[in-house]
């Protein structure tokens, strides 16, 4: 069974601090990590490979330093990595990212299963998985919390939907996006990590020309959305103090809550 796992290197957003005075982000010294949901996808790929043999490949689009994320995935037991790195990929929205990843997967060609994390912690969009599935014309199974059965022709999963779960069967090849409940990702093995950092490590770099895509289709030029501004969420508020004894103050509060449809 040949498995492709899509991963992203992200800033550890739980580490981000804001300037108490300006409310701006302090980005210095923030660690880059493999997106947490993607680690669960890597774990699926490695454990399926142990069971069914075949080849496991991770694909990531990002700046040159994203090679660290690929090395770590190889340290966890993935066979090969492909980094899509090109200045022209920069500024891509989800459409342009999925298009680029889709082209890379077409180039790899041989696959039975494509795995992604549900969403990345820096963008939180959860769009890449379904968009890549549509690009490749594959069925998709999102929010996968358990893989019940899988063979070379079909897969049965549980999809966690918040208010319960759904058991779904799909033919292969298919794309699945996984959530944290699915498994406990293993730690990278030191010997594999060392191998991943050697010169002959099985990591390939592909640029726009390798994918035979035109500059108009990728990166910011290919994006259909544009960020027009960014700003910090409001820190200070009106801070209206409600006066009187506790009964009066609570009475005023109830009015405010009702007035804003909060109760």
């Amino acid at each position: 069974m040949n498995i492709i796992t899509l991963i992203k290197q992200v800033p550890d957003t739980t580490d981000i601090k804001t300037d108490p005075k300006t409310g701006n982000l302090i980005r210095e010294g923030i660690e880059s990590i493999i997106n947490p949901d993607d680690r669960h996808a890597i774990e699926v790929a490695v454990s399926l490979k142990e069971k069914y043999k075949g080849k496991s490949i991770v694909v990531s689009m990002g700046p040159p330093q994203a090679i660290d994320a690929i090395s770590e995935a190889i340290g966890m037991g993935i066979d090969e990595g492909i980094l899509l790195a090109d200045r022209n990929f920069g500024g891509a929205d989800t459409w342009a990212t999925s298009f680029t990843l889709g082209k890379a997967i077409e180039k790899i060609n041989a696959y039975d299963l494509i795995l992604c994390g549900r969403q990345a912690i820096d963008g939180d969009t959860a769009q890449i998985g379904p968009q890549v599935a549509e690009f490749l014309g594959l069925p998709q199974l999102t929010y996968v919390m358990d893989i019940e059965e899988v063979d070379d022709r079909r897969i049965i999963v549980k999809r966690g939907l918040g208010n319960g779960y759904e058991r779904v069967e799909s033919p292969l090849p298919a794309l699945i996006t996984v959530i944290g409940e699915l498994n406990k990702p293993r730690y990278p093995r030191v010997d594999l990590l060392i191998n991943a950092c050697k010169e002959n490590a099985r990591i390939t770099l592909w640029n726009a020309a390798d994918l035979k895509v035109s500059v108009q289709e990728i990166g910011l030029s290919g994006s259909l959305t544009r960020v027009i501004k960014t700003f910090s969420p409001k820190v200070k508020r009106e801070g209206e103090m409600l006066k009187g004894d506790k009964g009066e103050a609570v009475g005023q509060l109830i009015e405010r809550l009702a007035g804003n449809y909060l109760i």
Binding site: T13, G91, D124, P130, E134, F135, Q140, G162, I228, F231
Partner: protein, 397 residues
Amino acid sequence: MAIFIDYDLCTGCKRCEKICPYNGIEVKDGKAVVNERCTSCGVCIDNCPENAISSDIKEKEVPDFRDRKGIWVFAEQADGVMAKVTKELLGLGQSLAKDLNQELSAVLLGNNVGHLIEELQKYGAQRVYLAQHELLSVYQTNPYTKVISEIILHNKPSIFIIGATPIGRDLAPRISMRLNLGLTADCTELSIDQEDGLLLQTRPAFGGNLMATIKTAYSRPQMATVRPGVMESKKIGTSSNCEVIHVDSSLTKEDVVTRVLEFVGEKKKVVSLNDAKVIVAGGRGVGSEEGLKPLFELAEALGAEVAGTRIVIEEGWLPVERQVGQTGQTVRPELYVACGISGAIQHRAGMLGSRYVIAINKDERAPIFEAADWGIVGDLHEVVPTLTNAILNRKGK
């Protein structure tokens, strides 16, 4: 592709440095310098007051979209029951429709769901596109994508909004790739740009630490998913008309690739502060594990989750998955009730994305009051039970 600075024009005002989402531009020795973190996203170009920033990125041509009209809402339902988010989207759609002077339509798919039309109308839909088929009775990605994409192609709407629910987040990106449409996820604010009539889509990024406003100029419909619980639903008078357009969906079994074997509902889900609409949080002021009791009672009355500051977790009064703050979770509920919390910046960082904040604290100088919409100075052990009773009384009416 690169960003260029015109050093004759750059005044070193640092606006670009502040606005860059990636920290990719810095002011050094009074001039802006692009560094290796730059992704060429172009945000700085539009925001430079001196027009000192440019790039070799060719501006995309905007096609003529004058024939695209109408605001559409995906009417999510399950087992013939309307999802709450559908009403919220219609509430939002009403104001967008008013701003653009266009019609508001709902797109309803299912099997035997005709009875929902009246409800859609009541919440503001002026037109309903109705597709009924036995293969649409349960949501599945492929048939829903196919039918909705066909309705969009035939009717050419200008805006299409979908709830950011598990269904909406499965469906919307699929449609966006099929029809090559820009899509913005999980918006918390949508409005119309008065100048060009485009949809302004605002959403949190970087774990809620940053807000971004996005436009989709190059494709129609402008598509966005909207976070549930953020928009308000608005009922309208029943006298207005609602046109129903029956869509003939030519689905066959081949269109359904996956097979839903069963759905197993769960009554109580695991604690998820991220999804909580209301959070009642305690700080040092609760004093003990016992002291959290009034908070749990208020949470029960409000349908809220209970959370705590670092000290509450360190004292063992609450488990770690309920911690809010820099070392805990970042939350953005509709309502955050801070009880006995002084409001250290580390805590405020985790809750400043909340829509409304109530602070209850004995110390009137506590910084939490600066981060609150409404404050009550008093002992939480007295104020919180009073508030709980007042809410229960109101509900009883």
